[in-house]
């Protein structure tokens, strides 16, 4: 493989492009596949097969050939509402798990650059903040303030926009009240039940880092369940 291909891969990653790296195992020639753009040389013959592997988020050798395809897709976006202590641990875990984190908190003292270096922070109320974030069904929401004024609008947005994962911090009681408020606001039972609340898998832990671990574990598990 040529170093230029490795550099092109890194450039595409930093530009947040989605692509595949294809290698001819017979001579170790490589090329970058970008959806919708034609390939050159012998790779062009396999455009459809490469696209198929790319679209299914897989890596592998095209059947009956010596062409290897590795798919590069963007990390899953996780919006954390609440720049609280748990969030700092969540960010630490997420670093090595291919998640892109965005922190939303209108309270400037919480969501400061000092507390969250190298992380995209939006110092706005969720309604306004979500206008600045591109979201889709591959986006996840984690609400951690357990203040209805901040959490509820974010939850409503995530339900409406069909996020694949929605989790809300709070005890069983807090969550029951939260569900009632959402039902009163006109959401269906099914939609409200899809919220992971109390958030996280049952680890039994109590400290902020242990809670963060249980949340990130649930996120990874839901990612695979939903084949994202």
């Amino acid at each position: 493989m040529k170093i230029e291909i490795i550099r092109e891969t890194l450039k595409n990653k930093s530009l947040k492009k989605e692509f595949a790296l294809i290698t001819n195992l017979i001579n170790s020639d490589s090329e970058i596949f970008v959806p919708g753009i034609n390939l050159t040389g012998m790779f062009s013959k396999y455009f459809d097969e490469i696209e198929k592997i790319f679209n299914s988020n897989k890596n592998g050798i095209i059947e009956n050939t010596e062409i290897f395809v590795q798919t590069f897709k963007n990390p899953i976006k996780v919006i954390i509402v609440g720049a609280v202590d748990i969030s700092t641990y969540l960010i630490d875990f997420a670093k090595n798990l291919n998640f892109e984190i965005i922190v939303v908190d209108p309270r400037k003292s919480f969501a400061s650059k000092e507390r969250f270096p190298h992380i995209k922070i939006i110092n706005k109320w969720p309604d306004e903040a979500f206008n600045q974030i591109e979201t889709n069904s591959k986006t996840a929401l984690v609400t951690l303030t357990h203040d209805p004024k901040i959490d509820d609008p974010a939850l409503q947005y995530a339900i409406k926009n069909k996020f694949f994962y929605i989790g809300a911090l709070g005890s069983k009681k807090t969550h029951e009240k939260r569900c009632l408020r959402l039902i009163e606001a006109g959401f269906k039972h099914m939609e409200v039940e899809a919220i992971n609340g109390p958030i996280g898998i049952r680890l039994g832990g109590k400290s902020p880092s242990e809670i963060a671990l249980s949340i990130i574990s649930q996120l990874v598990s839901e990612k695979y369940k939903n084949k994202i």
């Binding site: 493989m1 040529k2 170093i3 490795i6 550099r7 891969t9 890194l10 990653k13 290698t23 195992l25 001579n27 170790s28 988020n57 897989k58 890596n59 592998g60 050798i61 290897f68 590795q70 798919t71 590069f72 897709k73 990390p75 670093k95 090595n96 798990l97 291919n98």
Partner: protein, 109 residues
């Protein structure tokens, strides 16, 4: 699908090359049965045997490093290595998990 670690490995490969090292890239291209790491897992190895990344749970790395060094020494471009649990060498380099994997090694030029 690629993982976060692939980016880290490619960044480091670029660094090593810029520091005039000879670097080879090892990639898991096929697996059968239960294997520790998925297809697309990668590892880089320099001519001194320093490596970053992983192609198994530690079962075959030593052998892959050895192969990468000899690939560079013998000025070969690439090689495919198959690891099977049924290999005679199974006890030395075999996969405890009982799976088979194919690893492709190539020099980064």
């Amino acid at each position: 699908m690629s993982y976060f670690t692939e980016k880290k490995i490619f960044e480091e490969a670029d660094n090593w090359i810029q520091n005039n090292k000879k670097v080879s890239l090892a990639t898991v291209i096929q697996t059968w049965g239960s294997s520790p790491l998925g297809v697309g897992s990668r590892m880089i190895v320099d001519e001194d045997g320093n490596f970053l990344g992983s192609v198994s749970g530690g079962c075959v790395e030593a052998k892959v490093v050895e192969e990468c060094i000899s690939l560079i020494k013998n000025k070969k471009d690439y090689k495919k290595i198959d690891f099977k649990v049924s290999n005679e060498n199974a006890w030395e380099i075999g996969l405890a998990c009982g799976g088979d994997i194919s690893i492709y090694i190539e020099e980064i030029k």
